[in-house]
């Protein structure tokens, strides 16, 4: 883990309210694994917003350029979107555990809802190097305006299924429902599933995977102050914990195997 002040190299809107930011850091890039996250201090002089914000690492380009994909949802992300090339941000990371990669010959299925694509793109990027087979990818967005990154994904060896909630692009509906139907078919081979997105979507996928006895990894979000395991804010209920009823997203996750989580309370 390192703390570094970096200069923003690019920060532009690539879809409705959706931004792609890049900065260079050789140390962070050399440590980062798919599924890990960064705590970003957007304005070190400001007391509002006060806390750092957690962001998944979206990918690494040119060896040392880290990419962050985010949607402007509040004060912190809006402020981040206003930053320009050369502006400094303080970054702590990489944090958390990251994804356990599939075996090279294993059938692999990636499911992302909205900004859930952020860490899964990095995973797909890593799989490109090690995975022999075509990866199946299910992506869902609210509408065509918010669809991002799919052109870059097409460069990978993926079989892409796209949904939008309003049907303005791809299949109309929720990506979780599409996956549900997919898993409901006769499966010739059991896939390993990697999912990130809204908690309702993850709940549906995780519960299905548990019922079908499929290996399934989910990347969770949590309200956290520090990201370092200190504040214990980002508690998530364990599926199997009696003495220790909570995991912490920042240090035990953000990636969890589906059966580790108590989905009833999610």
């Amino acid at each position: 883990m390192v703390e570094e002040v970096v200069s923003i190299e690019s920060n532009r809107e690539i879809g409705k309210d959706t931004f792609l930011m890049g900065f260079r850091s050789t140390s962070l890039a050399s440590l980062a694994k798919p599924g890990q996250f960064l705590m970003i201090h957007i304005d070190r002089a400001a007391k509002d917003p006060l806390l750092r914000r957690p962001f998944s690492i979206h990918g690494i380009l040119d060896g040392n350029r880290l990419m962050i994909l985010y949607k402007t949802v509040g004060k912190g992300t809006s402020l981040l979107s206003s930053l320009r090339e050369g502006d400094p941000i303080s970054v702590i990371g990489p944090l958390g555990n990251g994804f356990t990669l599939p075996r090279p010959s294993e059938k692999t299925l990636l499911v992302a809802g909205g900004m859930g694509i952020a860490p899964l793109f990095f995973l797909a990027q890593a799989l490109k190097k090690v995975q022999k087979r075509t990866i199946e990818m299910f992506l869902g967005f609210p509408s065509a305006q918010e669809v991002v990154i799919i052109d870059q994904i097409k460069d990978f060896n993926v079989d892409l299924s796209l949904t939008t909630e309003d049907g303005s692009l791809g299949i109309k509906g929720l990506v979780g429902d599409l996956l549900d139907r997919h898993l409901g078919q006769e499966l010739t081979e059991k896939p390993v599933i990697y999912a990130c997105g809204p908690s309702a979507m993850l709940k549906k996928i995780a519960q299905k995977a548990i019922r079908c006895n499929l290996r399934c990894y989910v990347s969770l979000e949590g309200y956290m102050a520090c990201g370092l395991g200190i504040c214990q804010g980002c508690a998530v209920k364990r599926g199997n914990g009696k003495d220790k009823p909570y995991y912490y997203v920042c240090q035990d996750g953000p990636v969890f195997s589906a059966e580790m989580i108590d989905w009833e309370v999610m």
Binding site: D48, L50, Y223, C231, G233, C234, A235, K237, V265
Partner: protein
């Protein structure tokens, strides 16, 4: 320029090399932030609040950010005193600065039992009694809002230990000086002012509280003026040293607390944002003293100028 200024202070018989402490709950069990700097450089470390038995903490969401503030309802999630002594304390032996335990009990007896347990342990320099946590059902703040029970807890702990006893007060009372005087009389050697202020936040779309616990404790820069005022009040009311905390983000904030009379300060929420804050405050205080030709930090402590309105305090100034 001559020698570096002397930053050492005395808090209730505990001599510390500088007045900057890491506040309980924001520095883990003492060994988590070692990748950022050597915690030996701090005046002292107050570890995460401990209870007699492990506590799971509250359901999520436990945290919400409000303007300039952090509202939390962690619920004292901790591994319990026994696991701390067995698993964490040995590795803290390498840290060359006092380690202070913050203790919380559901009953007066539990406080006494913990003090007794800690008394037997080397490597713990002092006890900070938490009678001010707003996020637990039993005990916690309830002990800190009534002068008699606050005194009772303090007395029980003090009678079971030879280590300095610091009592951490809640701001959620009408007159904090009544509680401060009660714990001073009961044997406290120092007082920490202040714990978090009760608060809440609501999601207007769902009409639900943003914290699962409904209410939480507010910390961060939003509460600094209140904390400073309370320190000022308590400094006037008691003779024992006061440790100031509440929204300290940089050395200038720290100076404000020292000037109103805090003998030392604690860095809390700021640790969660910039883990190096406490370190930077020590450097900032050192540089400030050098710039202002102050050879000893005690020259600043209680050096508030009030044009005579604050009459009682004037005669007590330390410079």
């Amino acid at each position: 320029m001559g020698a570096l200024p002397d930053l050492s202070v005395d808090i209730g018989g505990l001599r510390i090399k500088n007045p900057v402490l890491a506040a309980s709950g924001t520095f883990g069990y003492g060994d988590e932030l070692t990748c950022f700097y050597d915690p030996s450089l701090l005046g002292a470390i107050i570890v995460k609040g401990l209870s007699l038995r492990p506590m799971p903490g509250n359901p999520p969401p436990r945290i919400v950010e409000t303007p300039c503030g952090l509202l939390n309802a962690i619920g004292l999630a901790n591994i319990g005193i026994e696991a701390f002594v067995e698993e964490k304390l040995p590795s803290l032996g390498t840290i060359r600065t006092p380690v202070i335990t913050n203790i919380y009990g559901h009953t007066v007896e539990e406080y006494a039992e913990m003090a007794e347990r800690i008394e037997k342990v080397d490597g713990i320099a002092a006890i900070e009694i938490n009678i001010s946590c707003p996020n637990v059902e039993e005990g916690g703040m309830a002990f800190g809002t009534d002068p008699d029970t606050a005194a009772m807890v303090t007395d029980e702990v003090a009678r079971n230990t030879t280590k300095p006893v610091i009592v951490k007060l809640t701001p959620n009372v009408t007159d904090i000086t009544i509680i401060a005087r009660a714990v001073e009389s009961a044997g406290a050697q120092a007082i920490s002012v202040t714990n978090t202020l009760l608060g809440m936040a609501v999601d207007v779309a769902t009409r639900r509280p943003k914290l699962a616990n409904v209410i939480g404790g507010l910390s961060g820069p939003a509460i600094k003026p209140i904390a400073l005022y309370l320190v000022h009040k308590v400094v006037e009311a008691v003779k024992i040293p006061v440790i100031g905390l509440g929204g300290i983000m940089d050395y200038q904030d720290a100076l404000e607390f020292l000037i109103v009379g805090a003998r030392a300060i604690q860095v809390g929420t700021a640790n969660l944002i910039n883990p190096k804050t406490a370190m930077e405050i020590i450097t900032g205080l050192t540089d400030f003293c050098v710039r202002k030709n102050i050879s000893n930090i005690n020259q600043i402590i209680g050096a508030l100028e009030t044009n005579g309105e604050d009459h009682e305090k004037k005669g007590d100034r330390k410079n």
